[in-house]
């Protein structure tokens, strides 16, 4: 048996079910590695001793019928966890301890998993490099001073660094897929309405979606099957037949039609990304699937549309952080003064920037020109996909226009930072599922990902395609443990 923390979720589950290993042993291994990995700054809140207690308790009377029996899991700090501080990476929630549990995390605990701690992320999930977190930068295990991507940067780093066997993130414009791509891991953004938003700190309600992040496609499928559920507490949750994704997983994708959208060949795209995409197309063909050129004509409008819709919703969603009821409160002369100081001191620069953009685009006199127009374009983008799916079963694109960059490199250039999401944003606007799988390395040896976009509710299909490609690609993540002294 290989080192515990190097095992995939599927292996760990198998070993625990065969009683080759106990929950306590697994939990100890991940706690110890997490303790040695403080240099990555992945955790905002650690819950190790409680995790070890729960593991011991699990071992006393193990229920091995569960899908995640005694498996320790660290989660993004955007999920509210009962009695465990939940910060959303923000100073304004620095001291916030929920009295309730998000549906997605509850689903995980219901299957026997144990909380290890809360993972770092961009403040309110606004960022593509994890540099906007109040709790500091997260290191990418791939290389020193490399960003892990964002906003689920802590989650991606924890998976790649083997601090947790599996994790969950949230994806509003690419926040699962981009960091997965930057860290050589697998990340799935499910169909909007697949995973409940109840108890997840909201960024942009019409785009936010929780999803699994894993070392491989099979683990990703298993976690998706655990977290996806219909929830009457979320009015946008959709009641559809959910597969047992891991059981129904197959690498047989013969005859599937995969679309290649010409609009994703953007100006200035590095040759290595172009090459990676071509490699992906070849793998698809090797698997017996058919490759078809398609057009998604409104792609170039996706990013500006996203940067109207998401900040608009955020500006309203974040209004509740006002110092009145919970969280950080600054002293003020009067109510207005208290609001201003609380929100100026409590929110970081990127969050403030997006609140201002959002407030502006919703303002009287600008609403029609920005918000309303963006909604119309959003509909056109969705129509593009609907048209394409008349001809193809799924779409293959690069996950990001480049590999991970250095910490600080783009921090002061928001537009160049926003461009990171150019391939992932249209998927959120259309409410579709998308998965990023590691597919190669750039010249510096940094991982690069490919994205497979599916039809709504067709997670099984893109998981199968990813599974088949994964086998052909045979990607190996180069983790040197450089941060462990």
């Amino acid at each position: 048996m290989s080192e515990i923390t190097k095992q995939s979720l599927s292996e760990l589950v198998k070993n625990i079910k065969n009683k080759k290993i106990s929950s306590e042993e697994i939990t100890k291994a991940f706690v110890n590695r997490s303790k040695k990995s403080k240099g990555l700054n992945t955790y905002i809140t650690e819950d190790y001793s409680s995790a070890l207690d729960k593991a011991k308790k699990f071992d006393q009377n193990p229920n091995l019928d569960l899908k995640l029996p005694g498996i320790p899991i660290a989660v993004k700090d955007l999920f509210c966890t009962k009695d465990i501080r939940t910060t959303a990476g923000s100073k304004i929630l620095n001291n916030f301890v929920p009295t309730y549990e998000s549906t997605v995390t509850q689903n995980i605990w219901n299957e026997g998993a144990i909380l290890l701690g809360k993972l770092n992320c961009d403040e309110f999930a606004m960022g593509s490099s994890n540099e906007t977190s109040f709790f500091g930068n997260v290191q990418n295990p791939i290389d020193k001073n490399l960003v892990p991507g964002g906003s689920s940067g802590g989650s991606a780093s924890a998976i790649a660094g083997q601090l947790t066997p599996i994790t969950i993130g949230t994806d509003t414009g690419g926040s699962i897929r981009q960091p997965a791509s930057f860290t050589g891991t697998v990340g799935l953004k499910p169909t909007y309405g697949s995973c409940s938003r109840y108890g997840i700190v909201a960024f942009a309600s019409s785009l936010d979606q929780a999803g699994p992040m894993a070392q491989n496609v099979k683990d990703c499928a298993l976690l998706q099957e655990v977290i996806s559920s219909y929830d009457s507490k979320d009015s946008t949750s959709i009641n559809f037949k959910r597969n047992e994704y891991s059981k129904e997983l197959t690498n047989n994708i013969k005859g599937k039609k995969i679309g290649i959208p010409k609009e994703y060949r953007v100006d200035g795209m590095p040759k290595e990304i172009e090459d990676l995409w071509q490699k992906g197309i070849n793998y698809i063909k090797d698997c017996g699937a058919e490759v078809i050129d398609i057009s998604l004509p409104h792609t170039s409008y996706a990013l500006p549309t996203y940067y109207i819709v998401a900040p608009a919703e955020a500006s309203s969603n974040l209004a509740r952080y006002d110092g009145v009821k919970y969280g950080f409160r600054a002293k003020g002369e009067n109510l207005i003064d208290m609001y201003e100081k609380t929100r100026s001191e409590g929110f970081g620069a990127e969050v403030q920037r997006r609140i201002m953009i959002g407030t502006y685009v919703l303002s009287s006199g600008y609403y029609d020109a920005y918000y309303l127009k963006a909604q119309k374009v959003r509909k056109l983008i969705k129509n593009d996909f609907d048209e394409a799916y008349k001809k193809v079963d799924a779409i293959l694109t690069p996950s990001t226009p480049s590999a991970a960059f250095k910490i600080g490199e783009k921090k002061d250039d928001p537009v160049s930072m926003y461009l990171n999401d150019i391939f992932t944003v249209p998927v959120n606007l259309a409410g579709l599922p998308g998965i990023s799988i590691p597919a190669g390395h750039d010249s510096k040896g940094y991982p690069l990902g490919l994205q497979i976009i599916g039809k709504a509710f067709d997670e099984q299909n893109i998981l199968n395609i990813a599974y088949a490609m994964e086998e052909k690609i045979d990607f190996k993540n180069k983790i040197t443990d450089w941060w462990i002294k």
Partner: protein, 491 residues
Amino acid sequence: MSKNKSEYLISRKDNQYEVIIGLEVHAQVTSESKLFSTSSTKFGAEPNTQVSLVDAAFPGMLPVINEFCVKQAIKTGIGLNAKINKRSVFDRKNYFYADLPQGYQISQFKDPIVGEGNVILDMPDGQKEVGIERLHLEQDAGKSIHDLDPQNTFVDLNRSGVALMEIVSKPDLRSPEEVSVYIKKLRSIMRYLGTCDGNMQEGSLRADVNVSVRIKGSKDLGTRCEIKNVNSIKFMQMAIEYEANRQVDLIEEGNSIDQETRLFDTKKNETRSMRSKEDAHDYRYFPDPDLLPLEVSDEFINKLKSDIPELPDDKKKRFIDEFKLSPYEANILVSDIDTAKYFEEVVAKMGKNKDIKLAVNWITGELFAVLNSRNIEISQSPISAKNLAILINLIKNGTISGKIAKTVFELMMDGNKDPQKIVEEKGLKQQSDPKALEALIDKIINDNREKAVEYKQGKEKLFGFFVGQAMKASGGKANPQLINEILKKKL
């Protein structure tokens, strides 16, 4: 529609001004739980004891629509003869305030659940139709309490998230009197439907009043001012009167009216500026992404339609047709659902040989007087409808006289006693035996021979003397009609 003859006009030197009024009524939906959460809506609980995580806007909390409140809004729309919109949208109205935990109110802006309708007012000189512009559902805010502490404001979130119906009228109202009748009619309709209890003291019904003035006969609307959150009919009338006169004075002095939001100071009986149009909030309305558009089917609406009880206008018509009541009487009886219920129960309990007129007189006379003097509602009446029906039947069948009935009525109030029993126990039964009464009258004529002679000689006034004597001799129980007949015969 008949023309309103008693016009409400404001006169100055050479000009007469007409007052144009439109109301935005905020009616609290009668429901167990709030519009988007399961917390209780019960009035009068300890502060902050009826607050869920959703009401207090905790991170990650999401609104889920309360279907019952939707039904209540649609029923109200039906009661207002209004168009029910099968698709409506909840929007966010964004503004910061300490008693608004989300930082926005969930309301309906562009696509309300109920569209145009109307309400018929019964004015002294005829009926008047008032147009309804729309009805939409929205959340109430919490309550800021400023007077508990010199430095701090306290916030009570019990009301936060309670469902309100905002009912917007067209600018069809022309006088404080019409406003009063309109509010009462709206309240009456909603109480019939059980969709709002209309309790203004508890804040279940309040209104923003839009007032403008114009020279009589002019077709253009003047600039309006909105008087916010007035919570009694009397204050609405006072506020309109003050505000209309203020606007007329401004115009007469050659000034223009500024469109603004004003507050009514109930102590000083005046309105004063709260904020001008320039300072108006930019609410940044946009569709709430946490909620899908609200869609209701024809089937859903039709089911509610079939559940609608008889409403005041129909009931009034039926009372006039079925019971031959005057429109005035019918109006009094139908305006409050409990009065109508009480009346109908009295009618039912009177049985076959009923005297509707007598029932109306007793309810609107004696009973209303008691309720008024005790300041109680008819639902708390000390005399049940059943016992009042028995009393009326006792009068109708000659068991007791109307005068004795008043005595019985007084006695009934103590513990809702059965009038039949009171009559028996106190021996109040009317003497209607002609033989006994003849003997009694013979004796009186005998005892007063001189007066009898005077009467026969033409002093007809003395007839009353003999009636009085006979009633006195019978202890008030003699049947007055029989006494009259016998006396006429014997004298």
